[in-house]
């Protein structure tokens, strides 16, 4: 094979450039057109076949995966469809999940080379791995992403990205500190209908922006007895080689084992749940994007109506938030136009737009001529979202759902959730990273990690 034809990994590329200027011409990028970020494609057909991407200057990125289950398998499938990706290892505390991923990856590459690890720390130590797919359960997203950043790995992490306000800051701080490319799984940021609605707001076509609305669905399911801190009956713990309960709990508070937790029950418990962020990860991100407020949060939060109790919130609710410029962020789980899940609505002095996962877009009558005619096809934009991430690994330009944007989305959502739990109006100071004049609310900004886990490298003052 000619020297110029050899595949070059991202790390190898760095060494080649630093070590030998003479090698540069053979590594020169393709035409400018091929380098530009792929334009978002309108209305792709339903997920189905994998979109094949192209190879470029750095034509191989070595990936590992941590905690890949249902949604993670979908992400993995999209990832493997890109020629630039070489997936080499999986870490999971569940034996069945490890073997499932290995079997899938080995079948894809027609070999037996995907390595399995029970402990993610062993995978993080591998210097040949450039990037990670992290799709654990919610409580592990933040700590795992922080450790991955400290190990110098770029990452695609499913949402929500952090379980508390302080963990959100720690995530953004670490990703910035270590110069990491981070993309959260807020894939609607690369979906046509949402991009179009955001574009109307940001272009000024809605006039002066008045309010952005986010469908946050429901905070904690429909738990109606015992709050969200009760313990199911204790059962004997499984063999840690098959299912490691201690590592499954991770940084969360200890509780006795019950097989319901890993079989669909965990979402019913405050300890394992990120509150509004189940959907707010998508919809508040969209609202902040539309309002051009992605690098801050609202300063006021006020719950209205709804029925709040214990350590969670239930039933119908609205939370009114206000940015410094007066624009409102309204979080609600009711009264949408029926355009599908994750609905978003933006209102200005000269018009409004609403859209959702159906792909349909509704606008005020004066804006109807702007709406494209080919609408209404529901599709999953994950492949676009992953492709944007892979482009960012090469360019080092942060992708749309980067850690900073993710952190501010999460802080806004956590602050709103805290106001709902306390059932009172709160004032937030984004610069001081604290609520003003409400000690109870400030105490709810963090969740202590169970020993021996630690939220290392949190630069923020409490």
């Amino acid at each position: 094979m000619a020297e110029a034809d050899k595949k070059v990994t991202r790390r190898g590329f760095g060494k080649a450039v630093a070590g030998a200027a003479a090698a540069a011409p053979s590594l020169a990028p393709g035409p400018a057109k091929a380098q530009a970020p792929a334009p978002a494609k309108p209305a792709q057909p339903p997920a189905g076949p994998i979109v094949r991407a192209y190879s470029g200057m750095v034509d191989q990125i070595t990936f590992g995966g941590i905690g890949i289950g249902g949604r993670g398998m979908y992400d993995l499938r999209q990832l493997l469809g890109d020629d630039r990706v070489r997936f080499v290892a999986i870490a999971d505390i569940r034996e069945s999940a490890r073997e499932n991923v290995k079997s899938y990856v080995d079948r894809h590459y027609k070999n037996n080379e995907c390595k399995m690890y029970r402990d993610p720390a062993e995978l993080l130590e591998r210097k040949d791995i450039d990037a990670l797919l992290i799709t654990t359960s919610d409580r592990w997203h933040g700590p795992m992403a922080i450790w991955a950043a400290q190990a110098g790995k770029d990452m695609f992490v499913e949402k929500p990205g952090a379980m508390s306000i302080m963990e959100s800051y720690a995530l953004a701080d670490n990703v910035r500190r270590y110069g990491i490319v981070y993309q959260s799984g807020a894939q609607r940021k690369n979906q046509f209908a949402f991009e179009f609605a955001v574009g109307l707001a940001r272009s000024g076509k809605l006039g002066r922006l008045l309010a952005v609305h986010a469908d946050t669905a429901i905070g904690l399911g429909t738990v109606d007895e015992g709050g969200h801190s009760w313990w199911p009956e204790e059962q004997p713990e499984p063999d840690p080689l098959v299912f490691d309960w201690d590592k499954w709990l991770g940084p969360c508070l200890w509780r006795p084992y019950n097989s319901w937790y890993p079989n669909g029950g965990r979402g019913q418990f405050w300890d394992f749940h990120a509150g509004l962020l189940e959907w707010a990860s998508h919809t508040v991100a969209m609202a902040q994007w539309a309002a051009d407020m992605e690098h801050t949060e609202p300063i006021e939060y006020e719950p209205e109506g709804g029925e709040f109790r214990g350590d969670g919130l239930i039933q119908r609710y609205t939370i009114h938030c206000r940015y410094t410029n007066g624009v409102r962020l309204i979080l609600r789980n009711h009264s949408w136009m029926g355009l599908g899940s994750c609905s978003s609505r933006f209102e200005g002095t000269e018009g409004w737009v609403e859209t959702g996962d159906s792909g349909n877009i509704e606008v005020s009558p004066n804006l109807k001529s702007l709406v494209p005619t080919r609408l209404g096809r529901r599709y999953d934009p994950t492949n676009e979202h992953i492709r944007e991430f892979l482009q960012s690994i090469r360019s080092r330009i942060p992708p749309r759902a980067n850690a900073d944007v993710t952190a501010h989305t999460h802080i806004a959502s956590h602050a709103a959730w805290i106001s709902a739990q306390l059932n009172r109006k709160l004032t937030w100071d984004p610069a001081k990273r604290m609520f003003i004049g409400d000690e109870e609310a400030n105490r709810m900004r963090s969740r202590a990690y169970r020993e021996p886990w630690r939220l290392e490298a949190l630069a923020t003052t409490m």
Binding site: A22, R177, E225, G226, W230, N263, E440, L455, A457, T461
Partner: protein, 245 residues
């Protein structure tokens, strides 16, 4: 042994129902934590609730649980957010009495609360025979930050080995960041040390990025030889073309 998966939502066992405890006053919760007849569950939920409404009177009863294998995490969960300085006193007092995971937990809580009065004790623990304890101590010193923390970590960079060394390097990076506003010169000194080739690569690259942005750049030296041979013929004015003969 793998327990058969439970797919149905179990009923709330009355003895594990958190809601009645959640509705108690801080005084009642403190009494529940103190009461030797209270169950592990009752004490756990009481600590959880005290994290929001507990005051100085809740500190000692919760601190007494720091040596309990299951309840220590609940005690720290309850103590960490309470602003009263008696929490720092209680954590510092517990530090030498604990070992292993429980000691690591307390070390972390001290770091999270940025208790500079614990720096002396932590600086000794950086050389603990348990590398997990030593690493936790280094990380906590980094989170506390400041000039004294910087000195401790700079010394640790010379005296520790992996697996403690990379943690000390990360902690020193954090410490440098916290010094940037108050003492830029000292911060840049730390960044310069962290940019040495002996440092873990993610830390070294992070330090170099800060130094590049901080300026001024080092004096220019023609360090890299000009290309020779085929590379010298490359046409730099166009795309991948050859210089016309």
């Amino acid at each position: 042994m793998q327990t058969p998966a439970q797919k149905e939502r179990p009923k709330v066992p009355p003895e594990f129902d958190a809601l009645p405890i959640w509705k108690m006053s801080a005084q009642q919760l403190v009494a529940m934590v103190k009461d030797p007849k209270s169950t592990v569950f009752q004490k756990a939920i009481a600590c959880k609730r005290l994290s929001i409404i507990g005051g100085r009177e809740a500190v000692q009863p919760m601190a007494a649980l720091l040596s309990h294998p299951q309840l220590a995490c609940y005690a720290r969960f309850g103590l960490e957010p309470i602003p009263d300085p008696s929490v720092d006193d209680a954590l510092r007092a517990a530090l030498p009495k604990l070992t292993g995971k429980l000691q690591i937990g307390v070390i972390h809580s001290i770091g999270f609360r940025k208790d500079a009065r614990a720096l002396n004790a932590l600086s000794k623990l950086i050389h603990d025979s348990d590398p997990q304890v030593a690493g936790a101590a280094a990380a906590a010193v980094g989170m506390i930050g400041g000039l004294q923390a910087g000195k401790i970590l700079q010394a640790a960079l010379k005296s520790t080995q992996p697996p403690v060394f990379p943690v000390a390097a990360r902690a020193c990076l954090l410490c440098a960041e916290s010094l940037m506003a108050a003492n830029r010169a000292r911060a840049l000194e730390l960044y310069t040390e962290l940019s040495e080739k002996s440092m873990p690569e993610p830390v070294r690259l992070a330090a170099l990025r800060v130094l590049n942005a901080a300026g001024p750049a080092p004096a220019y030296a023609n360090r890299w030889p000009a290309p020779t041979g085929a590379a010298a013929d490359a046409d730099t004015s166009g795309f991948l073309g050859k210089r016309p003969k």
